[in-house]
């Protein structure tokens, strides 16, 4: 790997690790300084991710051997188009959410917000970059442990109750992850993902049963993180109970599950694996269809705007995984575009909802008729845009994303189902959002008087952060051409794993065979 590039790759993992530790040890009692350090780190990660996306777009996959231990013996960090893209969307989201947290004072509501935030980024970036299955488990744990802290940030009875459930279900998930990893190691004798790809492809038929079991176990774990039905029950409660700031950051967490499904099922259990190729796909597709329906029907059950946003996350994960589960180049490109869109749109919705709830005093986020509140005109506009983006109406990128997904899955035998589900759920989502919006903004504006607040922090900063996310979505729409070209190239790279394998194990391995 090019020396300069390797610095940037390592920096994306090391910088949040060092910053998190430094803030924890030295800046614990200095809020202003820790804010500067935290935001500086987020900004640097955006720069690093931009450099890496530019580098990855050259088309050459690069691997960095940690401690200079050669693969498959050491751990490698691998940079390809997909991982670079995920780093960039994480960094952009983290920067905006951090601005929001600081300007609304979320970080003052409890201890150690900034170190936990940095450790969360460490786990996310590590998970996207690592080329080793056990290392992926470790980074999953890092990001989960940080997420437990962030989810409980600010505390309160409801949050603690939801937190217990969230932690327990993820601990069971981690246990299953270890079983899957252990099985795969027991059969193949390696944990390096590129090496696994070679050995799974060459595995004798007698081992296929065990490998398939481990593939399905791993997919189950990733599906749990991605909130795929029937493993989605934890999400609405957890996301609705935590602070809006943290829920916005968590928009990327479900995508880690989607990323891991894509990575393992194209690289390790990809086309070259013979009988084992995409062994989990027949299970993912129906589950994804059900998830889409449950998520968007769940919108109608929402009593508060936070529930609404959380169910919308479930629905968009279903839509995303519908496209993923087809496992063709044509569908994967749109799926990757939809990852970018749904992460930013979900986060934008959570931030707007949080802004509204903060201004409605005791009415909070409940979808009820209540007097007007401050900045109601501006916030109704932002809510409208965030809803349009989430539902997938023109002109924002949700429309482009869904259109591309529908086009991408056309060749699949199940295309009819996917089309029917996506189109129907879009109509349902329009109705649900229209109902919530008209209750909160339209009917409320007919009532006399205005809710008065004693103090309101982050009147401008918070709104600016939410608007920045929506602007990013607008940018994604305007630049849809170059971005889809990039995601299509990333999809092609995923379906030619020989490049990845050569980059990790050296060209002499001759790719898959």
């Amino acid at each position: 790997m090019n020396l300069i590039v390797s610095y940037w790759v390592v920096a994306s993992v090391l910088l949040p690790a060092v910053m998190g530790a430094a803030i924890l040890l030295f800046l614990r009692h200095q809020l202003v300084l820790s804010r500067f350090a935290s935001i500086g780190s987020c900004a640097m990660l955006v720069v690093a991710a931009c450099v890496l996306v530019n580098e990855a777009d050259g088309g050459v996959i690069q691997s960095y051997a940690v401690g200079n231990w050669r693969a498959p013996f050491g751990i490698v960090l691998v940079l390809d188009r997909l991982s670079a893209m995920m780093l960039l969307v994480t960094a952009v989201l983290a920067l905006i959410v951090m601005v929001y947290a600081i300007s609304t004072g979320t970080d003052r509501k409890g201890w150690h917000f900034h170190p936990l935030f940095q450790f969360q980024l460490l786990g996310l970036n590590g998970a996207f970059l690592t080329g080793d299955l056990f290392n992926l488990f470790v980074f999953f744990e890092v990001l989960l442990i940080a997420s437990y802290g962030l989810m409980l940030h600010g505390q309160g009875a409801e949050r603690l109750k939801a937190g217990v459930r969230y932690v327990i279900i993820n601990l069971v998930g981690s246990t299953l992850f270890l079983v899957g990893v252990g099985l795969l190691y027991g059969v193949t004798g390696t944990l390096n993902m590129a090496d696994l790809a070679v050995r799974v492809a060459a595995a004798p038929p007698g081992d296929h049963g065990l490998i398939a079991a481990s593939a399905l176990l791993l997919t189950t774990v990733f599906a749990l993180k991605a909130a795929l039905a029937p493993l989605h029950f934890w999400l609405p409660g957890a996301y609705a109970a935590t602070t809006g700031t943290v829920a916005a950051l968590f928009a990327i967490m479900t995508k880690v599950g989607a990323y891991s499904i894509i990575r393992t099922n194209t690289l390790i259990f990809g086309d070259a694996a013979g009988d084992l190729a995409h062994v989990a796909a027949p299970w993912i597709l129906p589950a994804a269809l059900v998830t889409t329906v449950i998520g968007f029907v769940g919108l109608f059950a929402a009593r508060g705007l936070r529930d609404l946003a959380a169910w919308a996350v479930v629905g968009s994960m279903g839509t995303l995984l519908c496209a993923v589960s087809v496992f063709t180049v044509e569908a994967m490109g749109p799926a990757l575009f939809y990852i970018l869109h749904s992460t930013l749109a979900g986060a934008a919705l959570f931030l707007v909802v949080d802004l509204i709830a903060k201004r409605r005093a005791e009415h909070g986020d409940a979808i009820t008729v209540a007097p007007r509140f401050r900045q109601i005109e501006l916030l109704s506009g932002l809510f409208f845009l965030a809803a349009i983006a989430t539902v997938g109406l023109p002109p924002l990128s949700g429309f482009v994303g869904k259109l591309l997904v529908l086009d991408g899955v056309r060749a699949s035998p199940q295309a009819v189902w996917i089309w029917a589900v996506i189109l129907t759920t879009t109509v349902l989502a329009v109705l649900a959002f229209a109902r919530a919006g008209s209750t909160i903004f339209w009917k409320s504006s007919a009532i006399e008087g205005e809710i008065t607040l004693r103090s309101l922090r982050g009147k401008r900063g918070g709104v600016a952060a939410a608007a920045a996310l929506l602007l990013t979505l607008a940018g994604l729409t305007v630049l849809a051409g170059p971005v889809t070209a990039y995601t299509a190239a990333a999809a092609r790279q995923l379906f030619e794993p020989a490049g990845y394998i050569d980059a990790v194990l050296g060209p002499r391995s001759g790719g898959r065979r």
Binding site: V138, I145, V164, T175, G182
Partner: protein, 116 residues
Amino acid sequence: MISLELLVASAIALLTAAGVYLVLHRRTFPVVLGLAFLSYAINVFLFAMGRLVIDRPPIYDKAAEGYTDPLPQALVLTAIVIAFGMTAFVVVLALRSFLETGVDRVDGTPDAESDR
């Protein structure tokens, strides 16, 4: 003749069964115990994935005739550390949640009269 493999495998099965049974309980305390049992089961399982070898060194030794696989041992060590930390965390979290909400059930619903 009972082989070592059979003993280890049935121990893993027993631990897993106990773990799953306890995790499905309603109160947090048995669930925490269940998670601990599950993590013990997984630790032994990971260890066994390097195959059961007796009296062989894991790292270089001049006099050794063969080796046992050192990698699962390193993996188990990592898994033990993580599971240990998480058990401590979940105990504290469950306690805190119980003290603050007065409810000790995983689903967060209050106790029925008959349970008290």
